[in-house]
């Protein structure tokens, strides 16, 4: 019987939410499978409070495990992690963001080890969700051969925090905390043995968003999950179901990417257009951000409050009844599947979906007019579709037949089998940093005492030693011979990048382990890391976490220090990429190059640039290395180091960070430069007096192109050069930039154009445009071209950008109803003519 352990923080029926429901569905579906799997669920420690209730609910279905905050399965390291979790690492404040995420991942790793110990066997399949990058520690343990050797670690595409925040621009303040999550999510997807998606369109979406290569896409299994329907209690539903539904309900979570505001605005519009409309509009859900919810409530005009109602605290039954007598509206801009849509359609509700959402508009399952109705993403259109929905009836059912789950098929076995072991590489251990003979000898004694070795392969040992020490030892110019070590004299007390480079150049070994004198390395670390490098040619380096001691490495450690390995964020904002006793592929160092201008920070500089250029790192979820808590003083201050690094990366950011998401520096995506980021707040205006985004269009938008290191060079793309990839929310920045000119001029004159909220939503802007252009046409008898020209004359410097942007505007305007396509093309031509003739720029 195949055993599967799902790592999850939601589990139906104890928490609402699609993922918990999905987990439950697997358990129910498994009962009827021809060969049922042995299912396990691992929940975080904070779910222990409900342990009994959860275990009761899953009796006979699955075994439920809980993580422990004790981290006892990680031994001594766990003990120090526990302290770290309680107190943080006050020495390095910037790192605490990384620590928080890593700790979570390490807790799940520890929980899995404990769950396996309880079960008495290793799980065949361990499935993590994609959000939070929780899989990172367990994946590293597997890669390093520390655990899960016979397990497939899969990652299921629910929705990464990264993708959600892309769909919620202006809602999240860019920060190190955020970008660390994004990076970890990216790495967990990249390193997954298998990726499980529900829809092809969403798998493609992930591949594009993270710029994964084709090989990644081929590791994605797409399978449709089982969907189960709760039978409602009480008879009122059946009664209500007899008459056609005339009410509308929004019942996704109150969160920006679910677009509850679009639903509310459409409701307002529908009621304004047809005050006699008998429908009620229900917002039946909950959320976490009270400010946001207040803002949503403020979108409902006072006189419509009885018609548009909020129900934050419905019971399951009440909600089910409401859903069954209403038309279900799901305006989400992003979903990875949306069980709720399928569940609603399967119980016979009419469903209205957002065509712009890849899970709805791009897939084969939802057919506009057949099993659902779709709207184009803006509330104006949604209002129309909702009106049509009252008289529409579905002519077909949505296909929700579940596929056979992947753990029942043979592909999992194939994924396990990909662990070919190559010939062992040669290893060189490079020691440096000596200031006394005793330190040299101590290192030598360590090597003699506990040599590193793998069967037939012995490493060579190199020591870079100041010549002054060698003279003290030999008393003459002749180089003393030290058994086991090849000595490399240098003429200063400080080791430079060039010294290291010269020694690396003399080596023949493929793998080099640094061993500076102020680090105490357990030979087991070197052996494990060495094997891991041999097993995975894609790895450039292997590191681990460390334990910090006081002045002497032999004394009892004080606390744990976490390292990030190949996280872009860590490389940009911290010095925690790799501890100084990490192990590298020698040619990877050669390729990136050691730079003298890194000064005494040559090692940090090397590691950071390796991450920049896409080298892959493995960070063992263990602490087999000790280092002194106090870092040696550097001539290059932290501030100078980080500023220079930020400059290298093209980050125009001031310390302390916020960092943008480096994981999403994709062509066609762009990050804001240093523009202030407005927070969504409850603020209602009547008439718009000025446009606070003025500095957005003024600043050029930083984008990114190319690969590897060039990716981060400051490539600036002018507004007019931007291309809109799809009709999604991405394009809003572009529109903001262009529109920046238009309303600023026109709205002062046309003060009757009212935004229901501030800042105006994307739908509002389009709504405004739809209204504005015909009015110009009718009122003044102008063509659109003349209107645009007049607008741009106010600020000629914008005209060039506007003209270059016109083809895109035309394309983007295609789906908008009420605009004459021909007029747009004419406008484009007329503007171009003016521009070419007068050469305004």
């Amino acid at each position: 019987m195949v055993s599967v352990c799902f790592v999850t923080n939601e589990l139906y029926p104890l928490k609402p939410g699609g993922i918990g429901r999905l987990m439950y569905n697997f358990a129910i579906d498994n009962l009827e499978a021809p060969t049922p799997a042995d299912l396990h669920y691992l929940l975080p420690a904070d779910a222990r409070g409900e342990a009994d209730a959860i275990r009761d609910a899953y009796t006979g279905l699955a075994t439920v495990h809980f993580c422990s905050d004790e981290l006892s399965s990680l031994g001594e390291f766990g003990q120090y992690l526990r302290q770290l979790g309680e107190s943080g690492d006050p020495d390095v404040p910037r790192s605490s963001n990384l620590d928080e995420h890593f700790l979570k991942s390490l807790k799940y790793y520890s929980g899995l080890l404990a769950a396996q110990a309880t079960a008495g066997f290793d799980f065949d399949i361990i499935e993590f969700p994609d959000f939070g990058g929780w899989a990172v520690a367990a994946q590293a343990a597997k890669k390093a051969g520390l655990a899960f050797k016979n397990s497939v670690i899969s990652v299921r595409l629910h929705s990464t925090f990264g993708l959600i925040t892309l769909a919620e621009r202006y809602y999240h303040r860019p920060s190190l905390w955020l970008s660390a999550i994004w990076d970890m999510e990216r790495i967990s997807l990249q390193d997954a043995d298998l990726v499980v998606g529900h829809l092809e369109s969403i798998a493609d979406y992930n591949a594009r968003a993270y710029r994964f290569p084709q090989t990644w896409r081929s590791r994605v299994i797409t399978e449709f999950p089982p969907i189960t329907i709760d039978e409602p209690t009480g008879g009122s539903v059946r009664m209500a179901a007899r008459r056609p539904a005339q009410d509308f309900v929004f019942s996704s979570r109150l969160q920006p990417f679910k677009r509850p505001d679009t639903f509310i605005r459409a409701a307002v519009r529908m009621l304004r257009d047809d005050p006699a409309c008998p429908s009620l509009f229900h917002v039946a859900s909950y959320g976490w951000d009270q400010t946001y919810i207040q803002w949503l409530e403020s979108l409902v005009p006072v006189d419509l409050r009885l018609r548009i109602r909020f129900h934050p605290t419905l019971t399951q039954d009440e909600r089910a009844q409401l859903l069954r007598r209403s038309i279900v509206v799901i305006p989400s801009i992003y979903e990875s599947l949306c069980l709720f849509a399928y569940e609603s359609a399967m119980v016979g509700s009419k469903v209205i979906l957002n065509r712009e959402c890849a899970a709805f508009g791009s897939g084969p399952r939802w057919q506009d007019g057949v099993n659902c109705l779709m709207f184009d993403g803006n509330y104006v259109h949604l209002a129309e579709v909702m009106k049509n929905a009252l008289t529409w009836t579905a002519s077909g059912l949505v296909d929700a037949t579940p596929d056979v789950p992947y753990w029942e098929s043979h592909e999992t076995a194939a994924a396990i089998a990909s662990t070919a072991v190559a010939e062992p590489s040669r290893l060189a251990v490079l020691c440096y940093g000596f200031s006394t003979l005793a330190e040299v000898n101590r290192q030598l004694l360590r090597v003699a005492d506990r040599p590193v070795g793998r069967s037939s392969v012995d490493p060579t040992y190199h020591a870079i030693v100041p010549r002054a020490l060698l003279k003290e030892a030999s008393g003459a110019a002749r180089l003393p011979v030290v058994a086991g070590f090849q000595l490399h004299p240098i003429d200063s007390w400080e080791v430079t990048a060039d010294d290291i480079d010269a020694v690396l150049g003399q080596m023949t070994a493929e793998v080099v382990a640094f061993s500076p004198v102020d680090m105490l390395v357990d030979p087991i670390f070197i052996e494990t890391a060495w094997k891991a490098l041999d097993a995975d040619p894609a790895l450039a380096a292997v590191t681990s976490h460390t334990l910090m001691t006081g002045d002497d490495l032999d004394t009892t450690p004080l606390k744990a220090r976490l390292y990030a390995g190949g996280l872009l964020t860590a490389a940009a904002a911290t010095t925690r990429v790799c501890h100084r006793a990490s192990i590298f592929r020698r040619d990877a160092i050669k390729r990136v190059g050691l730079l003298m201008d890194g000064g005494d920070r040559w090692y940090e500089d090397l590691c950071a640039r390796m991450v920049d250029t896409g080298c892959r790192f493995l960070c063992l979820p263990a602490a087999p290395v000790r280092e002194k808590a106090v870092r040696p003083h550097s001539r290059i201050s932290d501030e100078l180091y980080f500023s220079t690094r930020a400059n290298d990366l093209g980050l125009q950011l001031e310390l302390p960070y916020p960092l943008g998401s480096l994981s999403h520096t994709l062509p066609g995506d762009f990050r804001m430069g240093d523009a202030p980021i407005p927070e969504i707040r409850p603020y209602r205006t009547v008439g718009v007096k000025s446009w606070p985004h003025a500095n957005f269009a003024r600043s050029e938008i930083t984008s990114s192109k190319g690969t590897d290191r060039d990716r981060y060079r400051d490539i600036k793309v002018r507004v007019g050069d931007l291309r809109i990839k799809n009709r999604g929310w991405d394009s809003v920045q572009f529109k903001l930039a262009v529109f920046n000119n238009l309303p600023e001029i026109s709205l002062r004159e046309q003060s009757d154009i009212i935004f229901d909220s501030w800042p105006p939503s994307r739908s509002d802007q389009w709504g405004h445009l739809v209204e504005y252009c015909p009015r110009v046409q009718e009122g003044k008898g102008q063509t659109i071209a003349e209107a645009l020209l007049e607008l741009s004359l106010e600020d000629r410097s914008r005209l060039g950008s506007l003209v270059r942007a016109l083809p895109t505007i035309v394309k983007a305007a295609e789906p908008i109803k009420g605009i004459d396509q021909g007029a747009w093309v004419h406008a484009a031509e007329a503007l171009r003519e003016h521009w070419e003739r007068d050469g305004w720029e």
Partner: protein
């Protein structure tokens, strides 16, 4: 951490000799008594550290009994004695019976009796011997049965630490290391003055400050390196030409054996250990008159010159000494423990 019991800690097993005959032997030592701990660390057999500062609680006792069962321990050898050890002797005898053979070795000399604790402990050991809970009492001080007649007539011989591979360190041939505390018994001032008087010595490394010595002698050779952990100290021993441990009273100093392990000779007082005091190396390194720098300095000079003239001979002497010492040490333990 300090007061917990530790079984098979890295520092207690990494330099130990291996001998399958000792697989069922458990050495129980006190984690806070560094010299005894170092000596125990070199012995074959299993190692358990306890603390004289803390009584063992029920959980710890059960853990110890579990270890005895798990590792098939048939012989327990207490290295040094404390109230904690005394309790443990009784408890193990009660719960596991006389099948578990218990022995004890003392590491004191009669000169240390001014610390009365030592005599209280010797009294307790003798009492346990009378009760037949301890089978035999041994000592690393030659002729200790002349101090306490109930002790075994032979001498337990300490073993030098083992390094898994031979090491040829980087050695500064004009440096002397004196890793001594500044106390009456340890004789720090005499050692420093003796080394200072030898022209071949350019550098004297000290762990402790010879306070106020500058009022009588303005040596430019002194370097205070401060207290060092065992592994760092071993590095300093390897870097020096000579280690000095000329103290007023001693059993079998571990500093000497550690220095020899890294190929460095060590000056000591007369140790009276048969076969070693009269070994060529013993004759070179044992000093007869302990309180006169003028008597010690010539010994230092001889050794410093030997490093220059015939380092190979010195290395061979040290190797031979270590080999004989190891053989004698193992033999003494086998005889004492009847294994």
């Amino acid at each position: 951490m300090e007061n917990q019991i530790t079984f098979g800690a890295d520092r207690d097993v990494s330099v130990a000799h291996e001998d399958p005959a000792f697989d069922g032997v458990l050495h129980i030592f006190d984690s806070h008594w560094h010299g005894i701990r170092s000596a125990t660390g070199c012995l074959p057999g299993r190692k358990l550290g306890i603390s004289h500062k803390k009584h063992l609680d029920g959980g710890e006792l059960r853990h110890i009994e579990g270890l005895i069962y798990k590792w098939g321990i048939h012989t327990i050898c207490y290295q040094g004695y404390s109230n904690t050890a005394d309790e443990l002797v009784g408890i193990i005898h009660e719960s596991l019976g006389s099948e578990i053979r218990q022995f004890c070795i003392t590491h004191v000399t009669a000169t240390q009796f001014e610390n009365h604790f030592e005599m209280h402990m010797l009294g307790k050991m003798a009492a346990r011997l009378r009760e037949n809970k301890l089978r035999r009492l041994g000592s690393v001080k030659p002729g200790f049965s002349s101090v306490c007649p109930v002790f075994w007539g032979g001498t337990i011989v300490n073993l030098p630490p083992v390094l898994k591979r031979s090491v040829k360190p980087l050695r500064s041939l004009d440096t002397v290391l004196i890793p001594l505390e500044n106390s009456w018994r340890k004789n720090l001032y005499t050692n420093v003055l003796a080394a200072d008087a030898v022209p071949e010595v350019a550098r004297i490394l000290l762990v402790n400050q010879p306070s106020f010595l500058d009022e009588v002698s303005q040596s430019m050779k002194l370097r205070i390196i401060g207290f060092q952990t065992p592994s760092v100290l071993l590095g300093y021993m390897a870097s020096s030409a000579l280690v000095m441990n000329v103290t007023l009273a001693e059993c079998q100093p571990m500093s000497q054996l550690e220095a020899l392990a890294v190929g460095t000779p060590c000056l000591t007082g007369p140790l009276g250990l048969r076969g070693f005091s009269d070994h060529p190396l013993g004759r070179l390194t044992e000093v007869a008159v302990l309180d006169n720098p003028g008597e010690i300095a010539p010994k230092i000079a001889t050794l410093m010159r030997l490093w220059q003239s015939d380092p190979k001979e010195l290395a061979e002497m040290i190797a031979d000494f270590k080999e004989k010492r190891t053989a004698a040490g193992i033999a003494s333990y086998r005889e004492f423990l009847d294994i």
